[in-house]
C-alpha cells in the first residue's frame, strides 16, 4: 500500500534520510524504530508532504504521493502527533470533528458533534470532556483526544508519532491497546514511529529499524528478537555497546 523507494532528505549538511526503502502492506501495522534523530519523523512527514524530499519516490496504492489531488490524498490519512497537536482555541469536540466541520467531508454541526462524542467514547473519554478546552486535559487525555481526531473521519491509513512519549506506563499501555484495537477493527494500515519497545510489541505486525537514514532490518515482530542484526539487537536490548554510537 505504501512504498518508499530510495528516500533522501538533508537539512543543510545533516543528511537525515540516505536511501530509505520500505514497503507497508495494506491492513498491516508497521512500526519504525530507531534512535532519536534517526529520521523516523522526517520519513513520516515526507509521506504526508509536510517535508519535501530531496529525491526518491513515495507510492501510495501505486500512485505517486506528491502528485494529484492533495485534499483527496490527505483525506485518506489520520495522524496522531507526538504532543497531540490539539488546537488550543477549539473545544475538544471541535478538535475531534475538525475535518467533519469543513472541506469535502463536511457534515451538519449536530452530526459532526455526535460523531466526535462517539469517537471520544471509543477512546475511553466521557461525553462531558467534549466541551472542555485542550488545556484543561491531562497529557494522557490529550493523547486520547488526538487519537479520536485521527480516527474521526475513518481514514484508511493512520500514522502514530511517538504515541506513548511522556505518558506513565499504565497510560502508555492503555494507548497501545487502543491503537491495536482501533487499527484491527477499522482494518486500517498503520505506521507508528517509536522507541518504546513495549509499544512495538503491542502495536506491530512488522518492524523496521531505521539507522543512519537507511532501513537496517525489517520483518515480522515475532522475528525481531532473533533477527541476528547487530543494530536491531543493540536497540531492542538497550545496550550501550554495539554498532550504534551511544553518543550522537
Amino acid at each position: 500500500m505504501i512504498r518508499m523507494e530510495d528516500l533522501h532528505k538533508a537539512f543543510g549538511p545533516n543528511r537525515v534520510l540516505r536511501g530509505m526503502t520500505l514497503h507497508v502492506p495494506r491492513g498491516t501495522s508497521m512500526v519504525i524504530i530507531g534512535g532519536s534523530g534517526s529520521g523516523k519523523s522526517v520519513a513520516l512527514k515526507c509521506i504526508l508532504g509536510l517535508i519535501k524530499l530531496d529525491s526518491g519516490k513515495i507510492l501510495v496504492d501505486g500512485k505517486d504521493a506528491t502528485k494529484g489531488d492533495r485534499d483527496a490524498f490527505l483525506a485518506r490519512f489520520g495522524m496522531l502527533f507526538q504532543g497531540g497537536a490539539l488546537f488550543d482555541s477549539l473545544p475538544v469536540w471541535q478538535n475531534v470533528a475538525f475535518r467533519l466541520l469543513r472541506g469535502s467531508l463536511m457534515r451538519p454541526q449536530d452530526e459532526a458533534r455526535e460523531i466526535a462524542i462517539e469517537k471520544l467514547r471509543r477512546v475511553g473519554l466521557k461525553p462531558e470532556v467534549a466541551d472542555l478546552l485542550p488545556a484543561e486535559l491531562s497529557g494522557g487525555m490529550q493523547k486520547r483526544v488526538g487519537l479520536a481526531r485521527a480516527i474521526a473521519a475513518e481514514p484508511e491509513i493512520i500514522f502514530f508519532d511517538e504515541p506513548t512519549t511522556g505518558l506513565d506506563p499504565i497510560m502508555a499501555g492503555v494507548i497501545n491497546e487502543l491503537i491495536r484495537e482501533i487499527v484491527t477493527e477499522m482494518g486500517a494500515t498503520a505506521m507508528t514511529i517509536t522507541h518504546d519497545m513495549t509499544s512495538v510489541r503491542a502495536i506491530a505486525d512488522n518492524v523496521a529499524m531505521l539507522h543512519d537514514g537507511v532501513i537496517k532490518w525489517t520483518g515480522p515482530v515475532a522475528k525481531m528478537d532473533d533477527s541476528g542484526d547487530p543494530y536491531l539487537d543493540q536497540f531492542i536490548h538497550g545496550r550501550a555497546e554495539g554498532p550504534i554510537e551511544a553518543v550522537r
Binding site: F81, A85, R102
Partner: protein, 260 residues
C-alpha cells in the same frame, strides 16, 4: 580585517536582506491572494474581527484621547510664542487626521495585534498544530493568515477613523476646559478646516497599516524557529518589522497624498 572578506560579508548581508524582502513579498502576495479564493473560514474571520478590531478599541481610544489632549496643550503653548493660539482646533484636527491618528493607531496595532498573531501562530508551529492543520486538509494560509489579514484590512481603517475622532475630542476637551476656547467655535473651526482628502488619506493609511501589521505577524509566526526562544524571536521580529514598515509606508503615503 581583510578588505576582500569585508566586501564578501557586505555582499552576503545585502543578499540575505534582499532574499528576506523577497520572501516577505511572496508571503504577502500569497496571503492577499488567499483572501479572495475559497474556501473561506467565516468563524476564523469573526474571531479575527473581534481580536483585531473590537478588542483593540480601548487601547486605541486611550492613545488617541491623550495624544489629542497633549497636542492641544503643545500647540497652544507653541502658538503663544507668535500670538497664534487660535490655530489649536485646526492643527489638532490636521495633526490627528493626517499623521498622529493613523501612525499611532498603526503602532498600537503592531504592538497589540502583530505580537499576538506572531506568538499564537509561532506556538502553533512549535507544537505541530500547523502540521496537524495540513494533515486535516486545511491550508494554513487560508485558515490562519487570510482571515487575519482581511480582518485587519477592514478594521484598522475603522479604528483609525475612531482614533481620529477621539483624538480631536481629546483636544476639544482640553481646549474648552483648560484653555478657555469657545466650544461651538472650536468645533466649527475643526470641521471647516478638514478636507475630504485628509480623511481619505487617514483611512487609506489605516488599511495599509492593517495589512502590514497582520501580514508581519503571520509571516514571522509561520517562519518561527523551534522552542520558546523561536516563539520569542518571532514575536519580537514581527513587531520590529511591522513598526518600521508602518513608519516607512506612512512616509510614502504622505508623499503620495500631499506632495506639492
Amino acid at each position: 580585517m581583510n578588505p576582500l572578506s569585508l566586501l564578501a560579508q557586505l555582499g552576503r548581508t545585502v543578499l540575505q536582506t534582499l532574499a528576506a524582502i523577497g520572501r516577505v513579498a511572496l508571503f504577502a502576495f500569497g496571503a492577499i491572494s488567499h483572501v479572495f479564493r475559497p474556501p473561506f473560514y467565516p468563524r476564523e474571520f469573526g474571531h479575527a474581527l473581534m481580536n483585531v478590531g473590537w478588542l483593540s478599541l480601548p487601547v486605541v481610544g486611550l492613545t488617541a484621547v491623550f495624544t489629542g489632549g497633549a497636542l492641544a496643550l503643545q500647540i497652544y503653548a507653541g502658538g503663544a510664542r507668535f500670538n497664534a493660539e487660535a490655530v489649536v482646533p485646526q492643527i489638532v484636527a490636521i495633526g490627528m487626521v493626517r499623521e498622529l491618528g493613523p501612525v499611532l493607531v498603526g503602532l498600537m496595532i503592531a504592538a497589540r495585534v502583530t505580537s499576538s498573531i506572531a506568538a499564537e501562530i509561532a506556538t502553533m508551529k512549535v507544537t505541530e498544530q500547523i502540521d496537524a492543520l495540513i494533515t486535516l486538509s486545511t491550508h494554513p494560509m487560508k485558515y490562519l493568515v487570510a482571515p487575519r489579514v482581511l480582518a485587519a484590512l477592514i478594521t484598522v481603517p475603522l479604528l483609525v477613523g475612531i482614533g481620529d475622532i477621539i483624538g480631536i475630542a481629546g483636544g476639544y476637551v482640553v481646549a474648552v476646559q483648560n484653555l478657555n476656547f469657545n466650544a461651538a467655535t472650536y468645533l466649527r473651526n475643526t470641521v471647516d478646516f478638514l478636507e475630504t482628502k485628509d480623511v481619505i488619506s487617514s483611512l487609506a493609511k489605516g488599511a495599509v497599516f492593517g495589512v502590514i501589521s497582520a501580514t508581519m505577524g503571520c509571516y514571522y509566526g509561520m517562519d518561527s524557529g523551534r522552542g520558546a526562544q523561536g516563539v520569542g524571536r518571532a514575536t519580537k521580529s514581527s513587531v520590529e518589522a511591522a513598526a518600521v514598515l508602518i513608519l516607512a509606508a506612512n512616509f510614502v503615503l504622505t508623499g503620495i497624498f500631499f506632495s506639492v
